[in-house]
């Protein structure tokens, strides 16, 4: 089966020497992959390359088997993402922002999709308020709802639990579990092993721009195992 989104030996470095190196990663339908790593490990860079925001200097980024530049434009309608900042304009209401995202993604019944997203992420009290006036957490809810409302087949979320309150985290977790059960391929990143990382089928550990191993989601001392993996990698590289 072709992976929904994939990186094939992809590298992208910056002038300061940081970046991602030789990354192989495949997102498969029905599976949630959690990408965990300390701040600065390269998680956001990896996601940017995966979504075409950065071009790899070597290796390839693929959407349904096609390199991103040559992938049919319509395929992107089935991708939902939130990387760093939510697509939420301060001058527009939460509802209008959701409408804007739905239209850009070619949703057929925009009002119905927006209503569903508002209900799914409990945005009713804020729906008609300008996003500028919302708390950081509620703005993040709008961003997550905008990324998921078109029922994407591939979901890429960069630290989506940032600023979310516990109720928001639970809603996001349930939403991702349901979507994966319906066949979506999911990638979520986190700098800690939070509630969302723990629902993953695979937990991939990133350190200093490389994928250094995986953690079994069901082991009891998962934090300890994570830090052990990172420490061993740092020691090996003489960092």
């Amino acid at each position: 089966m072709t992976a929904a989104l994939a990186l094939d030996r992809a590298s992208r470095t910056f002038s300061n020497g940081s970046g991602i190196f030789d990354i192989d990663l495949e997102l498969e339908p029905g599976r949630i992959v959690a990408l965990v790593g300390l701040n600065g490990a390269g998680k956001s860079t990896l996601m940017r390359v995966l979504l075409g925001m950065l071009r790899p200097q070597s290796g390839r980024a693929l959407l349904n088997g096609d390199e991103l530049d040559s992938a049919p434009l319509s395929e992107w309608a089935r991708v939902g993402h939130l990387v760093e900042y939510p697509l939420a304009y301060g001058e527009l209401t939460a509802r209008r922002n959701l409408e804007l995202s739905a239209r850009l993604r070619g949703v057929a019944d925009v009002p119905a999709a927006v209503d569903r997203a508002i209900a799914e992420f409990a945005l009713e009290p804020y729906a008609d308020r300008r996003v500028r006036t919302l708390s950081l957490g509620n703005r993040q809810r709008v961003g997550v709802a905008a990324a998921l409302q078109h029922d994407p087949a591939t979901i890429v979320l960069d630290e989506p639990t940032n600023a979310l309150d516990p109720a928001g985290v639970i809603r996001l977790r349930e939403s991702l579990l349901r979507r994966a059960a319906d066949g979506a391929a999911v990638l979520v990143s986190s700098h800690h092993l939070d509630e969302v990382a723990r629902i993953a089928d695979r937990i991939v550990v990133m350190n200093a721009g490389r994928l250094i191993g995986e953690l079994a989601p069901d082991i009891s001392e998962i934090e300890r195992a994570f830090f052990e993996l990172v420490r061993a990698d740092d020691e090996k590289a003489g960092r």
């Binding site: 940017r48 979504l51 950065l54 939130l82 939510p86 409408e99 850009l104």
Partner: protein, 251 residues
């Protein structure tokens, strides 16, 4: 394209920048022009009358010449600020990341921004001409004859032509990834236009041609000189679309 145009229209309609600039262009230029007319009608100070230039005549011709002079610099500035905001804000607010990985090309999004900017600028230019006609009528300048209608049409055309000469602002805001980068270039455009007039380039300088054309009642700038605005605008539309198509979030 339809979705991108809808999105850009929603953003501009909901923005404080759009509302303030619209008011500043239509009400601001009308109020300044009316104030000059009032000053001309109520003063006998020869120095002030000299400063008021053509407006001192107290007729339609002078009133509308004053208005095009203000529009040539002030209107251009107002347009440029809106354009700089439309492009630069995506970087300042971080929303540009959400404009990747969509079934709409980024170059289409950039072109949609330009279409909405054009529609808004044309609407403001027409509205300003209508408000100036009302102000002049209320001020008792008399009936609007064919000469006055021509002057009002030149006033509106100056606004529309300003769209072409502000396009470098959108490219600069894109390259600098900030509103301020675009605004800086807007200031530079006004300076370059002034210097080029002083240097004798006149109508051959696209940045200065529309204002010179309107101020000289369409005499000193020839149609081929005005036509240079078309390739000038086309070059910047292509540059803007290319910059958005090739964009990487590497800074």
């Amino acid at each position: 394209m339809k979705a991108a145009i809808w999105a850009e229209a929603a953003k501009l309609a909901g923005s404080t920048v759009g509302r303030v600039a619209s008011a500043a262009i239509v009400i601001g230029i009308s109020v300044i022009s009316a104030s000059m007319l009032l000053a001309a009608a109520t003063t006998t100070d020869p120095q002030l009358l000299a400063k008021l230039g053509p407006v001192a005549a107290g007729d339609w011709r002078g009133f509308l010449l004053g208005a095009v002079q203000i529009t040539g610099a002030g209107g251009l500035g107002g347009f440029a600020v809106v354009l700089a905001w439309m492009f630069g804000r995506e970087f300042g607010d971080g929303t540009v990341a959400g404009l990747f990985a969509l079934p709409v090309r980024r170059s289409t999004i950039a072109l949609a921004k330009l279409v909405i900017y054009l529609v808004w600028a044309v609407a403001m230019s027409l509205l300003l001409a209508i408000v100036l006609a009302l102000v002049g009528t209320v001020a008792g300048l008399g009936p609007i004859g064919s000469g006055t209608l021509e002057a009002l049409a030149r006033q509106a055309a100056l606004g529309v032509m300003s769209v072409a000469i502000t396009l470098p602002v959108a490219w600069a805001a894109t390259l600098a990834r900030s509103v301020l980068g675009g605004v800086s270039v807007a200031i530079a455009l006004v300076v370059v236009a002034q210097v080029s007039v002083l240097a004798g380039l006149g109508g051959w300088m696209p940045l200065a041609a529309p204002a010179l054309w309107a101020i000289s009642l369409g005499i000193t700038v020839s149609p081929p000189q005005l036509a240079l605005l078309i390739p000038f605008a086309a070059i910047f539309v292509v540059l803007i679309a290319q910059s958005w198509r090739r964009m990487q979030l590497d800074r």
